[in-house]
Amino acid sequence: MDCKIALVGNPNVGKTTLYNKITHSFEHVGNWHGVTVEAVTKTILFEHNRLEVCDLPGLYSLTVYSPEEGVSRDAVLENSHDVIIDVCEVNNLSRNLYLTLQLLEARAPVIVTLNMMDELRRRGMTVNYRKLERVLGVPVVPMETKYHSEIHMLLSIAVDYASGRRHDPIELTYLDKLPVRELETVIGKNADACGMDARYAAIKVLERDSCIIGKLALTDDQKKYIDSLGNRQAELASARYGFIDEITDGVILSSVAAEHGEMHEHEVHNVPLTESERQECDADADKRRHIRRHGRIKKKISMSRRGFSGLDRVFLNKWAALPLFLVIMLAIFMLTFGDYMPGYWMKTGLEWVFDELLAANIARGLTAVGAWNWVTGLVTDGIIGGVGGVLVFLPQIVLLFLFLALLEDSGYISRVAFMTDGLFRKIGLSGRSVFTMLMGFGCSATAVLTARGLEDEKMRKKTILLTPFMSCSARFPVYSAICTAYFATGKPFIIFGMYVLGAAVAIAMAALFNKFSAMKSGELSFIMEMPPYRIPTAARVFQILWHNAKAFIVRVGTVVFALNVIVWLLSSFGVGVVGGAWVFGYVGDYEGLRSFLQYFAGAISPVFAPLGFGAGEHGWQAVTALISGLVAKEVVLSTMESFGGVAVVFGSNAPAALAFIVFTLLYVPCIATLAAVKKEAGTKWMLGGIALQLGTAYVVSLAFYWIATLFTVNPGAGVSVVIAACVAIVVALIFAHAAHKKRFACIGCGGDCGRCGKRK
């Protein structure tokens, strides 16, 4: 039979991990809230059934808050799924069951699964899921995502449930405390008219869900009646949580025997408990409660007992947090890009393979068989030189992705968002934007998609617009190659400096945007859950490595390779007058023949002459590299490599090389990112972004070029210009800060300094 299954649940309970395991997919997962931003569907075969499994963004309640939660809510309420698997995290049972209750209120076909049992078991606890099953009246399946057997069981139960063996849903007794019944009779007809369940509509009206109230088309009398009931939202939430506290009491146990006892009784007799048995059971529960309350030594309440890890004491310490973050980022960059580090050795090995083994031998072989000059040129320069020149960065890029994924999976990235929120709110962004921006160090195109979890529309669009300024992994090869050729001694500083520069430009732009009222973000709320720290498994690490390595090789093998061949052909063949006759052919065969690209890029290159790299006889090559880099940033380097390497393109002009890497950092991102920006923010924002990026790139690299030139001419003058600029910036900041002091809190102020406007 065909069966449609949806995975619903709170954020960060492992829905996507479960989905990946069920459908053998590679959807993005991470240990933070709001990784999944859109519904993903895949059909699988399971024991002669076709299951259409749908992974939905996480949500806390059926009254929605951000657009991606709306997707999930609609999927639940449309009733288009045969089974809704409500994924609950067993360590955070009460808040997860809150959503379960809402699903039951909506009379959705729910089965509950208690995920992350491994973490509970590790603490020596177990869960009496039978008790939950009894009170909720729906199947409850405890499981660990890593076991296929448990997933198999979950799917069998889901299929069983869909094929009609339904349990009777319970009467939700806690609703009796509220005027739900009365409201049901009043608005029943309206609910019927729009095909809604009357009880659910009544509950939502009590919750003042504007979406549902709008659909019901209430008359004035009905509205008056609803107003007379007053604001019952808090009461309803309390009623639900009260009910949850009641049913979860004694569900999480420290002994296996208790669970076993009850299961035994159920499995063998398969009859519900009689009244006397139930009383016995309740008496047991009282005894257990007594033991829990008095059987342990009372300790002073500490962070770790309240759901905080001891690590948070260090990582979230008011003074140590930011320096630690910087140290961690620095360590990541050092390990990945630093000389004599793991990434460096792997890269050196690959370089040797390409240069010594492949390029030299193939060139010798081609010459031996007497191939044409241009064929030898295409294979050695165009393909091995260009594509190989990028492929050698595979280890370093994969390492960077691994570290970024570890930041996500460990749960540290949410702490970063928390500690930088104070800084980011001053420039109209939220700590949540940090997710997107840090992901931008990996790949801008995928990072842009993660911005969807941001609630405020303007803030979301600003974050999307600024993310491409973060230096993505594809730009790194350009820095590395140029630094090796020109700034060998300062290489780590310049590379790290590029990452800092990208982030600084993004932050400065955000601050600038916030000065214009049209771009200013609204007063934002920030309620963000902190995930627990988790250690990624070895299997997950290998999965990240393999997945990113594969993606990189495929990209280099397809897009970069194809583009490289095209660029090489266009730059190596030309038409022109040589020796008084028109010729068409390989530029290497004729003295003084200009290639097609030399004409085209040569026409544009004067624009970049003030930046240094557009001038001179090789200026067209740098410009060609930038233009082809629009397709994919890896191509910037592969193009220059196929021209004979960066040393040929920039000659002896080191400042021009510096200006070039700054331009590469800041100019228009690749087509994939532009498409993502257009999809998420609209065409207007994408075009505005292109103009902004080109303008910023031009101005900043111009500044870098002239200061660097000054340094080469007269180091003393260069230093004084830099010092003067720094002083000017600091003075401007102090003035800006003084002007704002009255209205905003000062940095690091807890609200009691008496100097600023922050309320205590």
Binding site: I301, M419, I527, M530
Partner: protein, 77 residues
């Protein structure tokens, strides 16, 4: 007293949540209802954001949200 004025490393109990709008709803949905215990862990380095834990999980709140929550010091356990 409001949660914004709460001392770090202390246990409080929620008395009520005031206000309206989506933020108010979200707070209720996350379990800030009267009677629940809230542990204030600390504030962010740049101020303005407070980290609290309740019902076994931790959550960061900006002061606009923390302002809505009324608490009283919780004695006992």
């Amino acid at each position: 007293m409001k949660l914004t004025c709460a001392k770090p490393d202390t246990l409080y109990s929620v008395t009520s949540v005031s206000g309206d709008g989506p933020q108010y709803r979200r707070l209720l949905d996350m379990g800030f209802c009267p009677g629940s215990e809230v542990y204030v862990a600390g504030t962010a380095p740049f101020g303005g954001t407070v980290l609290v834990s309740l019902r076994g999980y931790s959550v960061a709140l900006r002061e606009s949200a923390a302002d809505m929550i009324n608490v009283e010091p919780c004695h006992g356990l």
